[in-house]
């Protein structure tokens, strides 16, 4: 027992001694570490300062919205996130004080298909997915055939909007009928209701689904497209917002399309960029609408295929005859 006590007493003393030594050592070490830390920190900080102050040579090429290629320093780039809700709200309201109309001159169409390809590349569609159908028309056996581009008619009394159960398709104040693919449930009531067969349904994954992944949805462009929802002609409302003519209208090489504002009584030809008075153009050329008897009040007018500028060449028809 006593032996044990002794030994513990000895241990106690030696530990105290050790502790005293180690405390001194500790403070010594602490001073050393502190000094080195301060010196190192100062070195890193001065290096950081130098990095900040030296001119940045790392540039990135950026294409601006007015189509200029400019270089900006990489560290100056800020990623801006488009306010999605604001975009959708603006897209639903439309442009104030306008009533957009389209006039299609059938005497000038020769099925060049430029309108279709411009539309498909803008809206990310497959080659067989049409917002504009170019129909080969022949009223009866003895009448002359002609081509008829048929986009959505953007009716003022739209049956498609009336049947939509979820308010996904809607009419704006400027007359354009749009679709919100984020609301659409894919019931296809609107396809059944539309007398002009202007709408199409994405049965399969859209063509650019991979590359469009994560992209902000633009209600005025319907991009990215969504499987299981509807898409149709949008009168290129994203371009109208910028004061530009729709994709199809400006792509046409033959002057088929006129586009303008009914409130201003003016339409501009997409090819020649000449502006005409809408009322006069329709009056002089005998403009008409598709199936007005249905009371849909379309916003697309047609000029009859009189004095055609191009011969009607139906490759398919010729093949049929020769074989």
């Amino acid at each position: 027992m006593s032996n044990n006590n002794k030994s513990t007493g000895h241990d106690h003393v030696s530990r105290e001694q050790e502790n005293g030594n180690s405390r001194r050592a500790f403070f010594r070490n602490l001073g050393l570490i502190g000094a080195t830390t301060a010196a190192g920190g100062a070195a890193i900080y001065s290096g950081y300062q130098y990095e900040q102050s030296k001119p940045n040579h790392d540039f990135v090429k950026v294409l601006t919205s007015d189509n200029r290629l400019v270089e900006v320093p990489r560290d100056q780039i800020k990623n801006i996130k488009v306010d999605h809700n604001q975009l959708t709200k603006l897209g639903r309201e439309g442009l104030k004080g306008h009533r957009f109309v389209m006039v299609i001159d059938l005497s000038k169409c020769r099925n060049a298909r430029k309108c279709i390809s411009a539309c498909q590349s803008a809206h990310h569609l497959r080659p067989h997915e049409y917002h504009i159908n170019t129909l080969i028309m022949q009223e009866s056996q003895n009448t002359a055939p002609y081509y008829m581009p048929k986009p959505c008619q953007h009716c003022d009394n739209p049956p498609c909007v009336a049947v939509c159960p979820v308010d996904a398709t809607f009419k704006r104040q400027d007359g354009i009928v749009l679709i919100d693919n984020e609301r659409c449930i894919g019931c296809r009531f609107c396809i059944a209701a539309c007398p002009y067969s202007a709408r199409l349904f994405h049965w399969e994954e859209p063509v650019m689904a991979e590359s469009d992944k994560g992209k902000e949805y633009n209600i005025e462009l319907n991009v990215p497209q969504r499987k299981g929802t509807i898409t149709k002609c949008l009168f290129s409302s994203d371009r109208l917002r910028e004061g530009k003519l729709p994709y199809c209208v400006s792509a046409c090489p033959n002057g088929v399309y006129y586009f303008g504002d009914e409130n201003q009584d003016a339409v501009t030809n997409g090819t020649s960029k000449e502006t005409f008075r809408l009322s006069e153009l329709l009056k002089v050329n005998g403009g008409y609408q598709l199936m007005p008897e249905l009371g849909t009040k379309p916003r697309v007018y047609y000029l009859p295929p009189k004095n055609r500028l191009f011969e009607f060449k139906d490759e398919r028809g010729q093949e049929k005859e020769t074989t």
């Binding site: 104030k96 909007v161 104040q173 504002d261 409130n263 201003q264 009584d265 020649s272 005409f276």
Partner: protein, 301 residues
Amino acid sequence: MIKRYLSLLIIVLISLHLSAQEWVVPAENGARLSPFAFSDSTRKAGAELYNTNCKSCHGDPGKNNVIKLVPPPPDPASAKMQSNPDGALHFKIAEGKTPMPSFKNILSSVNIWQIISYIRSFNDKYVQKTQTKPGGSGAAGENAKIKIAWLKETHQVQTFISATKEKVIQPVAGTEVKLFVKRYFGNLPIDEARNTDAEGKALFSFPKDLPGDSAGFVQLIVKLSDEAAFGEVKADTTLAIALPTYRPPLNEKRAMWNVVQKAPIWLLLAYTFSVLAAWGFIIYVFLQIRVIYRAGIRKDQ
């Protein structure tokens, strides 16, 4: 089989015939020359204009990547294009000939000369001849100015053109003036192009039924056609001379297709009534069951 070959032959012949058709340029247009010397800056501006307006069909100059059309659009670096005099190129770009579109309403005369300067940069042998006297006849004067006035009684727009000639500001007689009204996608020509009289004045009758904004304001644009003499001269002003027009938004009225807040009143009433009626009936049935239940209890007692 023979039929097929025959039709192929006819198609080839027709296309040859089409491409063989000459594009005739009037002599006075063909002899026109650029009012300015081609330089790096005009070539740069021309290249930009070329890329937005011409490239889709004519491809990159010298790379022979033109679009497949009949007749094919010539490559700008080719001998076929370069053999044209400057004036002929200007005329062809401005006027167009199917399938080449006309660019006179899309590009200004100066812009077309800039494109020509770009096209010529692919020809090493080209030596430019510039107009010796910018001013065509020389009598037109410099620094042309346009004044616009509104004649209310006759419903006409009067324009007055003046220019500095021999260091004196004088009216310009006999020059062509055009009046436009600004619309959303382009400028609407008003009346026909007029020539100024001896006092430098030109009158345009303004249509009475042209819609303006809600207060009748329209933006007028006056341009001089003779860009070779004066350069691009333009004046614009906003006047309350059109028909005041206000058309309500197209989705303002109550309609079957409109949002719930703007549904027809009869529809809202009919819907509310039928929902109330259905629930009312269900509640009535439950009340009746309660009455029967109560009656049963009373009978037992």
